[in-house]
């Protein structure tokens, strides 16, 4: 793929004083941080800290009670969630959320949905432009799969893949929308040490090769500290730290939060 | 006003019967998350055995045979087919029951041939006149029997070992299993209860007072109205099934009078649609039947 230069169309993602309340419960309390263009930004915290809630606010699954999320000049809060793909925000899922009986390539091609056009009749009639479009986008999807080491399993159903390969298929699908910002939800969840190391390498490669911004929610501290440029730490829905990995690691509040939770398994 | 009261009584009478059927659906759904599309064929089998044994056993004996065989058939379906398919999910099993329903219904309809036998009643068919109202005894008996069975069911559901185990299983299957609840027994009992209730219901459906028609393919169609009853009440709500049954009975009786007889069946389904659009999991339902 291309040389490790930043893409020019990158914009920053600003999470600005976001509060999310379910009834009386505040899942997020006045959380702010900024994902700078071209960085790997990690959102960490103990179980129940509000990482996933924050992720879901950004990706439009939940609507923030107050505060805003901006992507460059675009206000994300209140956007219909399926518009995000068109804005260049790709998302990979913690539970992969793939179609198990479809092939790897078919799953990844779904990522091209927002970049392509055509309804029932043009697909059904296989109009020349539809066929050309399909071929062109398939080539790109294959390229993305190969980049993620899925070249040999393009036509395998996802259900037949190893867990690690399924996770990479999910990432490939998110990349297929040609995102300028990639959201990764616990990319190493459920992985063994070898697979986690592979995933870390993949994420670094992505940033370097594609020059895009990456926001990842992660539980595995080793993975985060190895690859993140910047880390935001949440605890009980509040931001307790924000800085470089080394700054955050030295922060007494963070240490307390993690030791206190007793759920750190890394 | 008198007409209206009359219709309400008729509607509640029919509703009591639909409630019994809907309760069966709900019990099966709670135990297994399977929607039993073969419920109508349980009704037919129960009714058919009444017809066959009535001459030799008398009405009461035949009714017992019919009820018990509907229950046994339900258990057989669960034990021989559904419980053996550990790999299929609930929605696939619902489709399986459609296949089963086709087979059983066609066979009973074949056996009935050109006959459309009424099941007869053990009570006097003469309507009772109460202050200008004409009350059909079948409806009154249905209301009485329905009330007794529904009460008995709720008591059993609340206090019996089966009821407790059943509710635990509906809440959380894994946890219930860990607590030593034998899922297979709970499930089989649920099917038995549903089958017995269907067997009772048919005693009322295939009568002159209720449908004006004997046992036939039409009986199966009437039993179909238990679907909207169960769905609009909420598939996982036993109380919802009873309310749903009454709503369906009343809707059918009122719309047949005030709109048209042909429309009454559609009216039932329309009411269900309206409820579903407002509350996708029914009036009292707590969860949607989702595939994850």
């Amino acid at each position: 793929m291309s040389a490790p230069t930043l893409r020019e169309d990158l914009v920053e993602l600003q999470v600005d004083s976001v509060t999310l309340a379910f009834g009386g419960l505040r899942a997020l309390d006045d959380v702010s941080f900024t994902v700078e263009p071209g960085t790997v930004h990690a959102l960490i915290g103990p179980n129940g800290a509000g990482k996933s809630s924050c992720f879901n606010v950004i990706s439009g699954v939940y609507r923030a009670t107050s505060g805003r999320v901006r992507f460059g000049d675009t206000e994300l809060t209140g956007q219909r969630p399926h518009r995000l793909a068109k804005l260049g925000i790709g998302r990979a899922f913690q539970n992969t959320a793939l179609s198990p009986h479809s092939t790897v390539l078919d799953n990844v091609m779904l990522g091209r949905h927002a970049l392509t056009t055509g309804g029932f009749l043009s697909c059904g009639l296989r109009l020349p432009w539809t066929v050309r479009q399909e071929r062109r986008h398939t080539e790109r999807a294959v390229e993305i799969c190969e980049f993620l080491g899925l070249g040999k399993v393009l036509h395998a159903p996802v259900a037949a893949l190893s867990y690690g390969a399924a996770k990479r298929t999910d990432v490939a699908r998110a990349l297929a929308i040609e995102p300028t910002l990639l959201l990764l939800d616990e990319p190493a969840a459920g992985m063994n040490a070898v697979e986690t190391a592979e995933m870390a390498a993949t994420i670094r490669d992505l940033r370097d090769a594609l020059g895009i911004s990456i926001l990842l929610v992660e539980h595995d501290m080793n993975l985060v500290m190895g690859i993140a440029d910047r880390v935001t730490v949440l605890d009980f829905g509040k931001r307790i730290a924000d800085g470089t990995p080394s700054e955050v690691q030295a922060d007494p509040e963070v240490v307390k939060a993690y030791l206190g939770s007793g759920s750190e398994d890394a | 006003m008198e007409t209206f009261l009359q219709l309400v009584v008729n509607g509640v009478g029919k509703g009591a019967v639909f409630a019994l059927l809907a309760l069966g659906f709900v019990v099966i759904f709670k135990a297994t998350e399977v929607v039993n599309f073969a419920h109508g064929s349980l009704v037919l089998v129960g009714g058919y055995l009444v017809v066959v044994t009535r001459d030799s056993l008398g009405w009461v004996g035949a009714a017992v045979v019919g009820i018990v065989s509907a229950g046994l058939l339900a258990i057989l379906v669960e034990r021989l087919l559904l419980s053996r398919s550990k790999l299929a999910d609930a929605n696939s099993l619902a489709l399986l029951t459609i296949g089963l329903d086709v087979i059983i219904t066609e066979e009973i309809v074949r056996r009935l041939g050109v006959t459309v036998p009424f099941l007869g009643e053990a009570w006097d068919a003469q309507p009772i006149q109460v202050g200008g109202l004409t009350l059909f005894r079948t409806h009154l008996v249905a209301i009485g029997v329905g009330a007794v069975l529904v009460t008995a069911f709720f008591l059993a559901f609340r206090y019996s070992d089966w009821g407790v185990a059943m509710r635990a299983q509906a809440e959380n299957r894994e946890a219930a299993a860990l607590m030593g609840i034998r899922s297979s027994r709970v499930t089989a009992t649920a099917w038995l209860v549903a089958g017995l209730l269907a067997g009772v219901a048919v005693l009322f459906i295939a009568t002159q007072d209720f449908s004006g028609s004997g046992l036939s393919r039409g009986t199966h169609s009437i039993a179909l109205a238990a679907f909207p009853a169960a769905i609009l009440g909420g598939l996982d709500s036993t109380a919802g099934a009873v309310v749903g049954g009454l709503v369906v009975g009343l809707t059918e009786a009122l719309s047949a009078q005030y709109i048209s007889f042909d429309f009454s069946k559609s009216a039932v389904f329309l009411v269900m649609l309206v409820v579903l659009v407002a509350r996708p999991s029914g009036l009292f339902g707590t969860r949607e039947s989702t595939r994850v």
């Binding site: - | 299929a88 069946k265 269900m272």
Partner: protein, 386 residues
């Protein structure tokens, strides 16, 4: 616990085909086309009618497999949309000067397209309801359309002709060429091409169009969005698929196919006659028969739907035609075995067997068989994926 769902068929995604395999495939399709085109020259009218009936099933089943198999929306409303298509065609093409019933006197070709369009629109109108419901809830909710159809069929007799007499549809014509015994006399190899033969070719073309459209859609962008909505709405949304729109689209498309099957039905019977009960030409039994076709064929599989239709719609026809020779069957209604009864037993049992033993239906069996002849290893091991 790992469970399998009956809604599994993936797409036959663009697989890089080596040219010999491609040639074999093309040759097989051409052979099939030639065979089907030549059949009217060799088989008699009764069998042609049977074949036409199977094609009606195929068109409807293709529509249902797109909706239920690909888009994951269980529908028992298919028979209703058959009635919509059948009525729409009869009204649009009907003569304008009849006293009892309404007709718009449109060209039958246009009327056919109009009927398909109207069916799609009616399907679209139900989509907001369908979009809110899932699984079994949707299945039962869709059943209400069949009951509405029953009611409207009976009450709107100026459109449908009513249950007692029904009404006769206009003869289908294309550019003035009638698909009846009238018009120019044609003979091929000494066989006169009359109504049965002409309708055969018409249905063959319609079925082929339905098949090609559905297959193309399944393999393309639309099919992917349907499967995504079926398998995971959150993921579909994140990839830019408007879930409500995709579901509504699938419902409209499926209804259009059903509407076309309805037009074919009315041409086949040569009468539009609404049902008197829930059991009839457009009744619950028909919705269930279509569901049986797509389950037996393998949910989501277009060729599977066609084979399922051959079985479910073909069996009663074939058994009837054979029964004269075999003397198996008693009189209808006499409590004996009729062809319709026997085929109901068979497809009922087939549904049970498919759910219990082969959730992918015939399509899965077919894939396994072709897999035997393919060099590519089917199982993917861990090593291969890294």
């Amino acid at each position: 616990m790992e469970t399998t769902t009956l809604i599994p068929t993936g797409p036959p995604a663009t697989r890089p085909r080596r040219s010999p395999a491609r040639l074999v495939r093309a040759a097989a399709w051409i052979a099939l086309a030639v065979l089907l085109a030549a059949l009217p020259l060799y088989i008699d009218t009764a069998w042609l009618k049977a074949g036409q009936y199977m094609m009606i099933g195929a068109v409807g089943a293709i529509g249902l497999t797109l909706l239920t198999g690909q888009a994951g929306q269980l529908s028992l409303a298919h028979a209703f949309f058959l009635l919509v298509g059948a009525t729409a065609y009869t009204v649009l093409a009907g003569p304008t000067d009849e006293e009892r019933v309404i007709g718009l006197g449109l060209d039958p070709g246009l009327a056919l397209m109009g009927a398909v369009l109207i069916s799609a629109l009616v399907g679209l109108a139900f989509a907001p309801v369908a979009g809110r419901l899932r699984g079994i809830y949707l299945g039962v909710a869709s059943l209400s359309l069949v009951f509405l159809g029953l009611y409207f069929g009976q009450s709107l007799d100026s459109l449908t002709g009513g249950t007692s007499t029904g009404r006769t549809p206009a003869t289908f014509e294309l550019f003035g060429f009638p698909f009846s015994n009238g018009g120019p006399e044609i003979e091929v190899l000494g066989v006169p091409i009359r109504q049965a033969e002409r309708i055969w070719y018409l249905f063959l073309v319609l079925t082929a169009i339905a098949f090609v459209l559905a297959r193309g859609a399944v393999r393309g962008r639309v099919g992917r969005s349907w499967r995504a909505v079926r398998d995971n709405e959150a993921a579909a949304t994140a990839m830019g698929v408007g879930v409500a729109r995709a579901k509504a689209g699938a419902f409209a498309v499926s209804s259009a196919f059903a509407g076309l099957a309805g037009v074919m039905t009315v041409l086949w019977f040569d009468i539009l006659k609404p049902d008197e009960s829930e059991y009839g030409t457009y009744g619950i039994n028909v919705s269930i028969a279509f569901l049986a076709m797509v389950i037996i064929g393998g949910l989501g599989s277009v060729p599977g739907a066609v084979v399922g239709a051959l079985i479910v719609n073909g069996l009663p026809q074939a058994l009837t035609l054979f029964s004269g020779d075999l003397g198996w069957f008693g009189e209808t209604g006499g409590g004996g075995l009729t062809p319709i009864l026997v085929s109901s037993f068979i497809y009922g049992a087939a549904i049970v067997v498919v759910v219990l033993f082969e959730p992918g239906g015939l399509a899965a069996i077919g894939r396994r068989l072709t897999g035997l002849f393919r060099a590519r290893p089917r199982e993917i091991t861990r090593e291969e994926t890294s």
